[in-house]
Amino acid sequence: MSHLLALTMAAPALAAVVLLAIPGTSRTALRVVSLIGAVISLAGSIWVATLYDRALGGLQLLDTVPLVPSLGIHLKLAVDGWGVALLLLTGVIIVTGVLASWSVAKRDKEFFLLLLVLVSGVYGVFISQDLFIFFLFYEIAVLPMYLLIGIWGSSHKVPSAGPFGFTWKRFEVGSREYAAMKLTLMLLVGSAAILVAMFLLWSNSGARTFDMQVLEATKFPIAVQHVVFPLVWLGFGTLAGVFPFHTWSPDGHASAPTAVSMLHAGVLMKLGAFGVLRIGMVLVPDAAAWWAPIVGAVAVVNVLYGALCAASQKDLKYIVAYSSVSHMGVVMLGIATMNAAGWNGAVYQMVAHGIMTGLFFALVGLVYERAHTRTIAKMGGFAHVMPVVAGFFTLACLSSLGLPGTAGFVAEFMVFAGAAKGASPWWAIPGVLGAFVTAVYVLRACKTIFWGPAPVDEFAHLQDVQRTEWAAPLVLGSLLVVFGFWPKLLLDFIDAASQGYLGRLPIVALAQAVTP
């Protein structure tokens, strides 16, 4: 099956096309078609994983269609080990995301349509081996978010204060339109930087090509690399929530509807980190090595600062959103270590955090849908009425704080080990501290929401998980545990890619020469 990757990528988009033909009134049909598209893509991802030869490593399942040959643009799809892991993540999140959005009532046709288009973009990014196509898919993945948040999101009030309080006149800070606009603009500023970096690579590649394999083999002048790397880092980094360009994330994720938060925090933020890793680290390794200390230092800020911010939040979704900022810091930290443990950990953390945060947002959505509040202080004793939610929420919390036996531990441990072994061992300290702060805020939230005396009045009859709502907790929760106990399932893929790319890094070559 030579076009397996293309099929996996296109399945959701094709489902979206089918949706166009279905009248908006046949609501079940809309959902079923969306689900079929999602499931096909997941099945495709799994198939890809089975076909991928882990021992061989490298790029596999190559599929090329020339698109604009005169400019060196080809639709070149292939997958490496990292890609396999992230494809699986995407598949799982979209399937559960569709099921979690079963109850979307408002303009559901458009909702599923945009959701599916977005996911096709995400798949595309992970399998593109042409920089240009990579960017193209990246944009597709980023843009529908504007409408998804702007239309289906939720608003709340943020009081104006601080030296910039006067800007509140112009912006309705906290409203879904504000969140959507801020998210989109910040991410697109990022993609503007990426575009410039792309041009630089393309024009300096000698061959004037966007083919990533050719670019990998090219040794770019160090001056070019030093311009490209920061552009890539901050460009993609904005999506990965790199401090101080992370502020779209709390508002965006807090305002977004459930499935969108799941996808955005679960998968899209990983696109950013994946970009930094795949393009920044692999294509311009010399500059990357020079910049790595800065990337790592900023990542460390992310971890600790994000966790502290999360600890100060009173709104449940904001807590989860800031925890994403913190956890993506772990990913970036792993990337900055530039060694196998760190990179494996970074990619593993992408998957682990994707699943964990997907689970979080699914559950938060469930709670919000029933209780109509996200203010933690107003909740209490929910475990009496929704024990299943409570249980899975606790599981997500545990993965979040890196408890062994959950995927979060394996990831964080590898990242910290990589950091400790790397050039700046001190990175591990704030990293671990961040994990402790995480333990504080997630468990406090968990306690306040779910524990305590049985709720009275309006919360007394909240329902527990129903029908399709089971999907997200069950699938994501069990994956957290499975990947926590049996990391080999994914690590084999991830490690294959890390080894391959690391072998090309100048510093690794150096280190191998020095140490026997």
Binding site: L71, E139, A180, M181, L185
Partner: protein, 478 residues
């Protein structure tokens, strides 16, 4: 038939059509709506004919040059004219039922002028063609007191006057500059510049650039753009915002790249400044606009900046990409204006806020507007992305990387206001929920634009190839 008559067959057909329309109205009292569809039909036939008629003959004295380049532009103008005419039919019928023939005739005359521009290789022909394109526009801009409801200010005269005053001032400068250039050179041939330029040459050339820049609406000759767009009938603005710009671009390329290519050192920096200023000013000024027409006007200024970037590259690739860009721009902007028009006719105003709930009232119109906006913003999988990308790549390769970076940065501002429009369309709750009533012509035009924008967005290659062929045909001769 004479060979050179065949060269001009398309142009003559359009001009003749103008006369026929006038005559049919004057003598047979044919209803305006019929005239409109007739015009549209004939334009469509001419467009089809352009694929079969051989117009590649030679014209005596070298004043005109045919070829792939000319045909490319003619088809583009014909498409723009066709879409513009179709978009106007229902509005004319409703608003100025007794003056329909003149409207079509003027549009056709302007179209004739446009079609002559790209082939002109002599200043006299170029100037006459350019003015033939321009003068009817003054009249059309002031066609009606207003096209919106009675509550909107009656800005028709103002729209015409502003277009007119800046227009004549610019053409006075053009004339003055031409006088210097032609006087100093002694020939009206476009390519007659000597290798060594005198100061008078230089001054003249730059003044000509200023005059041509007016039609493109490039900074600082753009001041009329928002006011005229606001006051003139929107279906006409749809045409005005694209076709004359393509005409201006044709004139620009003909002047710069055929005659003056060797003197790029003179006009290159000036063009770069205009391009940069257009992108910055267009995007910044568009930010606070609340009227959709003004907003699109300023956005158009910014878009033109991007085209000029490609011309400033002074390469064949740059030219090809400029052609590609302007072609896509025709569909995109025309479509956007027609959607705004359709919505305004139903909701009673052209304010962006009036678009609220559009996607609920008419999902397809809303989706179409979104697609056009995304294309203008340069988002992938709609054609505007390729257009911007190709232009930037071409400029980058020609060493204009600074301007490209500037363009990329200000494009973000563009996103803000395009998204603001999208926000009104999709997110805001509208007061009315009844579907938008749009005439067949408008709907047809929008559909064509939509198909083009999406189709070319998915598969841009045919148009890229065509534009490259046209550009290479042009550049190989000069």
């Amino acid at each position: 038939m004479n060979a050179w008559l065949q060269v001009f067959s398309l142009d003559f057909a359009v001009a003749a059509l103008a006369l026929v329309v006038l005559a049919l109205d004057a003598f047979l009292r044919i209803p305006g709506r019929v005239l409109g569809w007739l015009t549209a039909g004939v334009l469509a036939s001419v467009l089809v004919a352009s694929f079969f008629v051989d117009t590649s003959g030679v014209v005596p004295h070298g004043v005109y040059e045919s070829g792939a380049w000319v045909v490319f532009f003619k088809r583009l103008f014909l498409v723009a004219g066709l879409l513009g005419v179709m978009g106007s039919i229902d509005w004319l019928e409703e608003r100025t039922p007794r003056r329909q023939a003149e409207y079509y005739a003027l549009m056709l005359f302007s179209l004739t002028g446009m079609m002559l521009v790209p082939g002109a290789r002599d200043w006299v022909l170029l100037l006459v063609a350019f003015e033939l394109m321009g003068i009817p526009l003054y009249v059309l801009a002031a066609w009606a007191k207003t096209d919106g409801p009675a509550t909107e200010p009656k800005l028709g005269p103002e729209a015409g006057l502003k277009l007119f005053v800046t227009g004549v001032a610019s053409s006075a400068f053009t004339l003055f500059g031409l006088a210097l250039v032609i006087g100093e050179t002694g020939s009206t041939a476009l390519s007659a510049l000597p290798v060594q330029l005198t100061p008078l040459h230089t001054t003249g050339m730059l003044m000509v650039i200023g005059g041509l820049g007016f039609k493109l609406g490039a900074v600082p000759f753009h001041m009329w753009v928002p006011d005229t767009y606001q006051g003139a009938p929107t279906p006409f603005v749809a045409f005005l915002s694209v076709a004359p710009k393509a005409g201006g671009l044709a004139a620009f390329s003909v002047v710069m790249l055929s005659g003056w290519a060797q003197h790029v050192a003179v006009w290159g920096p000036a063009l770069a400044v205009i391009a940069g200023a257009s992108m910055v000013v267009g995007n910044v000024f568009a930010l606070p606009q609340t009227d959709a027409r003004r907003l699109l006007g300023f956005s158009g200024v910014a878009q033109i900046g991007a085209v000029l970037l490609a011309i400033a590259a002074n390469t064949q690739e740059g030219l090809a990409m400029a052609l590609f860009f302007i072609s896509t721009y025709v569909f995109t902007n025309l479509g956007a204006f027609l959607v705004v028009h359709a919505a305004a006719q139903s909701s009673g105003g052209h304010e962006v806020s009036m678009l609220a709930g559009l996607s609920r009232r008419s999902p397809w119109l809303g989706a179409a507007l979104l697609v056009f906006l995304l294309s203008l913003a340069g988002i992938p999988f709609v054609v505007g992305f390729w257009a911007k990308l190709f232009v930037f790549l071409a400029a980058w390769r020609a060493g204009l990387s600074g301007l490209v970076i500037l363009a990329v940065v200000v494009a973000v501002l563009g996103l803000f206001y395009y998204l603001s429009v999208a926000r009104s369309t999709f997110m805001a709750e509208g007061t009315s929920s009844e579907p938008i009533r749009a005439g067949l012509g408008v709907r047809l035009s929008i559909v064509v634009c939509l198909l083009a924008v999406v189709g070319l967005g998915l598969w841009p290659r045919p148009l890229v190839d065509e534009a490259t062929r046209a550009a290479s045909a042009f550049m190989q001769k000069h």
